[in-house]
Every structure is written in structure tokens, then in C-alpha cells.
Amino acid sequence: MESAAHTYRVAERWSSPFLATRDRGRRVREDVEREIGQLDAGRTLALDFAGVEGVTVSFGDELLAKLVIDRATGQSVDRGLVVEGANEDVRETLETVLLRRKVAAVSIDADGHPEVLGGPGWLPETLSAAVELRSFSAAELAERLSLTPQAANNRLSGLVATGGVVRERIVPEGGGKEFGYRVAIPAYA
């Protein structure tokens, strides 16, 4: 069976433990976007920073912040994206660039737990609820978090934008158009 996650190993691909320039960030992002584009809907790309000692703010902005923005507004929103293997320095830089762009991403920490980098304060709670539900509707999330349907939908938009949850079109029994949501973090998918 094909694994739900495709791992992109940054240090190996670019033969360096430190990634510096904005132009290099753009080239890595374009490479990652190409690979995400080749994944089937529902699969996840794990951006693995193991072996990377540091990245600059400019590199992180050009790679991750723009990747998150492009993914959320582009064709690959039905494929997941998570960060993994980031050491404390890399994690801190990535969080900084995401906060500055007012976007967020999901990172898998050393213990294998998902955490939110960047984004508004309600996002971690929403991700935790999603991880518990795994596959769910907006109404189910609203019930779990005691939110109005509108508030749940707003939070889901933010959560899908991180790449940690994917939105899928489903056909309800009575017909019509509906969306379901599924956690795209490999260990929880």
C-alpha cells in the first residue's frame, strides 16, 4: 500500500546543513511545489528538515511562508503539507516567518506530536479537535468545540490553509454538494 506521506528531505536534496538565500528558498519551493503537484489527492508532503542546522529568515520566508500561501490559494489544497525534523533554531525561524505573513503550518515535534507554527491563538485548539476526530464535517467540529457553524467554517478555512487538514468533496445521500475534512498528518491520517 502506498504511504500517505511523501517525504522531501531538504538537507539531502540541497546538500547543505544551512540554507541561506531567498533565491535558494525560491528554488526549493518550486521543487517542493512540483512534487506536491505530482501527489494524488489526499496524500501529504512531509517537508523534512532533519540534518538542517539553520535557515535564514529570507530562506524560510521564500520557502515555507510562500509555500503555505501558494498551496492555500492554488491547485494542491487537496494535498497535505507538514513540517518535520526541524531543530529548535529552524523551528523558531520558520515560526517567525509564518507569523510575519500571518499564516501557519503544522510541524511534527521530536515526540511525533503535531504543533502549530504561527497563526492565530485558536488554531492549536482547533487542530487538537481535528486530530481527535480524524475525519469529520464542519458540523461535527462545531459540536466538538461548541462553536456556531459559521465560526467552525472560519476556523476550518484557517486549518486547511496550514496543510495539516485537507478538504474533500463528498456526495451526501440526498445529493448536492458538501465538504468533508480529514487530518493529513501522517501518524494521524
Partner: protein, 268 residues
């Protein structure tokens, strides 16, 4: 014949005001100490003039220790092996593009990081990389970008820390920012250097402009630090600290420097 006569310790870092930045000769005879800023400034100046078809002669320092240092870092040619001076973190490099720095990092990082006290971590690389990125992407320097780094322990009478020098002979910060219509009407270069420290300020259409912000954050991470930015006809001198706003002084400089020279000291 215009001679740029440099003398004493750290002559360029101390703020020499030459008649012209287009000398036919650079005289280092009386130089008694070279910092990374001096090394990259001299190298950048020489490379720019050479690219323009008028390479200046370089008269080496008279003091043997200074001459040996200039040879060891690669500023002047010398016979035989070049023993690395104590504390030299990065010898003089000429980078044709910012991408060349990325390509070199795989080789440089292990020695650079392990050769420095742990407290610096990768901060030196962060700062150097942002400055090189700025020089390479905004500077459009025909002679490339020059970098050099040296660690001082304070025993030489200079403040201890990791001293970084980055120089290019390109457009300069003021010239780059004036490409953006928002800043095109600002005629004082030192005012544009002040603006360049703000987030999102850039001369490109792309929404960016965090490089210099990251340099200041890197210099202030952990302890105090110093930054000097000389670009075009302006200069900014900064004392940064982990908490609070940096001390900053901006001034006009003549003659205009073609390009940007930056000194950063990460405090020990």
C-alpha cells in the same frame, strides 16, 4: 595620481574620508590593524576598479604581522602556504552571486560553526547570509560580493566578538530603495538607510524586506553588538542590545561610496 593612503588600526572602519573612491593606488604601508570590514572594503574597491579597467596598485603593509595577516586572509598575494591567523573564521571570499554562497555553505558550515565559541551558534551565518543575499539580489555588483569573518577575544584591544565584513560595489541601499516609487523622491541617502531597517521596506515589487531586520536581530541575539552600514552617500552606525531599541546615528558621507560596506560585531 590619486592615492588612497590608509594608516593606523582599522582605517576604513574608523571612517576615513578620501578625496575619491577611484584611487590609482591603495597604500597600506602604515596600516597597523585590519578588520574584516577593512579587508572586504579594500578588496571590493580594488575589484570594482579592476572591472572598470583601472586596477589600482596595492602597496602592502610595512608591519610584518599586518602583512602576514593580509596575506593569510587573501587580501594580498604571498608565496607559499598561508597559515590561518588565530580566530580567523572565514578568509576573504569573492562571491560572484548570492547563489555561490549557498553552494559553498555545505563545505563552510562544519568548520565555521565548530571553530567558533558555542555562544555564537549559527548567528554569524544568519547575519552573513542575509547581508550576502541583500548584496547579491539588490546590489547588482559587477565585481561580486566580498566577505570575511574574524573572532577577537578582546586581547588585542578591540571589543571581543565575532567581526563580520561584507562589501559589494553595486547599486547601494539608497539606489535600490529608489527603484520603489514610494522612496524615489527621498534624496538623502542616510534617510534611506534609516528606512531600510524597517520590515517590508524594499525596492522590489515583491513583498519582502526582512533581511536587514534579521541582521539586527542576529547582532542583538544574546548580548550587545555593533553594526555599521556605509552605502552610497549615507552611513548608519548602530549599537544593538538584546532588549530595547538600538542606539542609531545616521550621517551623510562624501564622496559617495559605490556600493555597500557593512561591519557587524556579534558581542562575545
Amino acid at each position: 595620481m590619486a592615492v588612497l593612503k590608509l594608516s593606523g588600526p582599522a582605517p576604513l572602519l574608523r571612517g576615513i574620508r578620501p578625496i575619491s573612491w577611484a584611487p590609482t593606488s591603495i597604500d597600506l604601508i602604515e596600516v597597523s590593524w585590519l578588520t574584516p570590514f577593512d579587508v572586504v572594503g579594500i578588496a571590493s574597491l580594488r575589484a570594482r576598479l579592476a572591472a572598470e579597467g583601472q586596477p589600482p596598485t596595492l602597496v602592502p603593509p610595512q608591519t610584518p604581522a599586518v602583512r602576514e595577516y593580509a596575506t593569510a586572509v587573501g587580501l594580498i598575494e604571498g608565496a607559499g602556504d598561508r597559515p590561518a591567523p588565530r580566530g580567523l573564521a572565514l578568509e576573504l571570499l569573492q562571491l560572484p552571486t548570492a547563489d555561490a554562497w549557498d553552494d559553498l555553505l555545505g563545505e563552510i558550515v562544519p568548520d565555521f560553526v565548530s571553530g567558533l565559541p558555542d555562544r555564537f551558534g549559527t548567528r554569524g551565518l544568519d547575519v552573513l547570509s542575509e547581508l550576502i543575499d541583500n548584496a547579491g539580489t539588490h546590489g547588482s555588483s559587477p565585481a561580486g560580493t566580498f566577505v570575511c569573518a574574524q573572532c577577537y577575544d578582546g586581547g588585542c584591544g578591540l571589543p571581543a566578538g565575532l567581526w563580520l565584513g561584507v562589501a559589494d560595489a553595486g547599486l547601494g541601499i539608497p539606489g535600490h530603495l529608489r527603484l520603489n516609487p514610494r522612496y524615489a523622491e527621498i534624496d538623502r541617502d542616510e534617510e534611506l538607510i534609516r528606512l531600510a531597517r524597517r520590515p517590508w521596506v524594499t525596492g522590489t515589487r515583491d513583498r519582502r524586506g526582512w533581511g536587514l531586520v534579521a541582521v539586527f536581530e542576529g547582532a542583538a541575539g544574546g548580548t550587545d553588538g555593533d553594526i555599521l552600514i556605509h552605502s552610497g552617500g549615507g552611513e548608519g552606525v548602530f549599537r544593538v542590545r538584546p532588549e530595547g531599541r538600538p542606539y542609531a546615528r545616521y550621517s551623510a558621507r562624501t564622496p559617495r561610496l559605490p556600493g555597500t560596506w557593512v561591519h557587524v560585531r556579534l558581542g562575545a
